[in-house]
């Protein structure tokens, strides 16, 4: 599964399970947040990704 910020690129290159991220230089973070808050944001994206892995897909799907 693919975590990335610019999801249309992911769709173009053919990823099947896609999870949107925060920003190009920090897909799984947010430097303007406090460290603990930032880690919570990261965890949420990773949990979303893990959940996507447990869901069957027929083709390409973006897990918002």
């Amino acid at each position: 599964m693919h975590i990335c910020t610019v999801t249309p690129i992911s769709v173009t290159v053919g990823a099947n399970r896609i999870v949107p991220a925060i920003a190009i230089p920090y897909p799984l973070g947010n430097p303007s947040s406090e460290i603990e808050e930032e880690k919570a944001i990261r965890r949420k994206i990773v949990e979303n990704a893990l959940e996507a892995l447990t869901i069957g897909v027929d083709g390409q799907r973006i897990f918002e």
Partner: protein, 350 residues
Amino acid sequence: MAKIKVVHYINQFFAQVGGEEKADYPAELRIGEAVGPGLAFAANFKDEAEIIATIVCGDSYFNENLEKAKKDILAMVREQAPDVFIAGPAFNAGRYGVACGTIAAAVQEELGIPAVSGMYVENPGADMFKNQIYMVVTKNNAAGMRDAVSKMAPLALKLAKGETVGASVEEGYMPNGTRVNFFDKKRGSERAVQMLLKKLAGKAFETEYPMPNFDRVEPSPPIKDLSHAKIALVTSGGIVPKGNPDHIESSSASRYGEYDITGVSDLTEDTYETAHGGYDPVYANKDADRVLPVDVLRDLEKEGAIGKLHNLFYTTVGNGTSVASAKAFAAEIAAKLKKDGVDAVILTST
């Protein structure tokens, strides 16, 4: 000036020997004859070139007796010693296309005689040989003969004379991976606006920067039980141990790295960084978990939400890296992950 000497290769069908029932027709050399499409070539050459011989071979014969057919035909061509070799056009005939590509490439490589062929872009012979010989784009059936000959003939003459061959878009051959610069009559802004107007009007237009062909893969079945799954991390965001020990390039990466994170529960400023030259590295260098979420996955591992975080992660720089390189890296990485019993991969990109 002496006429340019051309040897032409065609199949049994275009030689009017017969159809499928004659597809096992062995290679035959007809000296001094232009046959079938050869007449159209001859007309196009005017007085500049002549077909000194035509080689006729059945499509099945060629493909089923590949080594012998190739050897026999190469001997015929060597004996005739032409200035250029033309095969086809094959349009969308698959076996004919493969035969044309095979023999044209062999003539060029083994005899050093320039060769040109032509076929429909979806003919399997096109993909196989378009990077080895000049492969002219044709329509998908013989109704496109005149068009095909009008491109193949001048290109063949240029090759015979050793003249510079222009860009694929000018000469009508399939892009072969070699970039040729040329000055367009219209400047870029004008061409771009014309394309945009066509696009807005719903008309066909041709991009000057086609995307590479990306393949598609079947989605993997879902994971039934995450708490027993082994999850691996892979990234194109260039996260590497501090100092980039394998010197992964900051753009157009020629390699990927494999690094052990046994016992690592947090990527820190002192231990990891990014090698990527295509985005602002400040945030990833400060905390590489922002690209490769090792810290969170360790937590989830401890909590039992996932079975295990794989002890190796794979990384490269996805910055101007060619699709061919990326595909090669991915094939190797995937094989290693499978061998290590990894159930799923989280790929992160910047």
